[in-house]
Assembly symmetry: C2
Homo-oligomer: 296 residues x 2
Amino acid sequence: MRIGAIEAGGTKFICGIGDESGRIEDQISFPTRHPDLTMPQVIDYFQDKGAEAIGIGSFGPIDIRLDSPTYGYVTTTPKPGWANYDLLGTLKQVFSVPFGWDTDVNAAVYGEVKWGAAQGLSNCLYITVGTGIGVGVYAEGRLVHGLVHPEGGHVLTRRHPEDDFSGVCPYHGDCLEGMAAGPAIEARWGKKGHELPAEHKAWEMEAFYIAQSITQAILLLSPHKIILGGGVMQQPQLYPLIREAVRQNLNGYVSSSTIQNHMDEYITAPGLGQQAGLCGALALGLTAMSNQISTI
Amino acid sequence: MRIGAIEAGGTKFICGIGDESGRIEDQISFPTRHPDLTMPQVIDYFQDKGAEAIGIGSFGPIDIRLDSPTYGYVTTTPKPGWANYDLLGTLKQVFSVPFGWDTDVNAAVYGEVKWGAAQGLSNCLYITVGTGIGVGVYAEGRLVHGLVHPEGGHVLTRRHPEDDFSGVCPYHGDCLEGMAAGPAIEARWGKKGHELPAEHKAWEMEAFYIAQSITQAILLLSPHKIILGGGVMQQPQLYPLIREAVRQNLNGYVSSSTIQNHMDEYITAPGLGQQAGLCGALALGLTAMSNQISTI
């Protein structure tokens, strides 16, 4: 099988072609500009690839309600040209194959469940911490969509006692994204995260906020595993800080040996590394093809 | 069909018998004492009822992992006699019928989805605010269990600016349950909730905390509806206060007309009223019977 995969990010697009084992045979990446410039590049890439299905994990918010007239659209983004843009429809006009369509973070969690660190688990969370913060939710064997789709990057936070930073989220100020995404780190400390040393106070504070959202997610969703990806999570010192803060937050309440004795495996990096999103898009494409076959 | 239903609460047990339409034909209630006293009452009730299946929604934490040696047990409760008690097994020894087994709040959300305010919806949350706070989660057409089961009553809270109460949760102090369950209201104001007038400051504060947990749940789970039950929610003035606080918390971020224009229907009381838990247990029994038939 040849399956196309698109990781449509707010900063860059990655397109690839792979097979049913999750192996990516070829991939290309280019910056996300206006759709009139970016989408022809996507179409051009797949023109000669012979994809039998294509999966897309997209930045958002996006419309994933199957019965909606704007299904397949990017909806309210401030990114020029992409608000109310029919991303899926534009590709469907060119390629007559089954399409999978979901958020970038749902794609990533799906990739991890299929071929990564959460293989075989029925409940898993993927949190990406980068320019923004997003949460993909897989519960009882299904990707969670619901009313719109989860927007867990914006959960409210308790303030760190030594933090007087007001937050940068235009909607909520000091929600998780406003306090802990890359731009918040830069605004608070005057330097980008990768310019700060590993022992800088910034990381304990960063862990404090990320651990809070993980705590809330454990209490509301009881996942089997929590996977942390994204640019900010390239700082390996964050993992032990986050695990310790989650342990303190829960304070022994959730009676599970996984949480109490195997926190190192419970909160982890993506098994697929930087490829979680693209492999997840591949998995979405694969599922779209299976669904079509099963309904013929 | 005749289906048995047990709402096993920490304060009282309710047993009933009903049919596949959700109609409860007969029910009985008694206080929850030591299991040696309470369980014989349960068994006695069902002795002559001819139940073809029995569903149980239980207080917890409970073990609902099918592959666990302690499946069917109440696990870590401080309630005398109930810690590590094989509630389900005790009944299975007497009644040779299919059993449904889940948390009290998962039963309630299931009842509401089947016959109540969330009929036909694939994603719904049930929050009960009473002696404790519990959250039942129904996502993409399935009850969410995961690693243990959701324990959303213990999500962390931001403190109300005028609240210096330290909270009563023995694990977390000022988590949601520690700040907003019945005992917290009584400890903070020196009176039980039902003794406080509707215009008392207590209710705005109560709404502040409940709305926070709803906000977190909307962002992490994107439910189609949120149903609020339990003793504290018998105060009707809470609903508009909670809706307004949720609206302020989200600040227009979640782009959904359901949330932006129909908040009165989005955050509601149980359609089944006080019967949500018992009807939900009935629904669990019904599903257990269907599953058995489908696997024969």
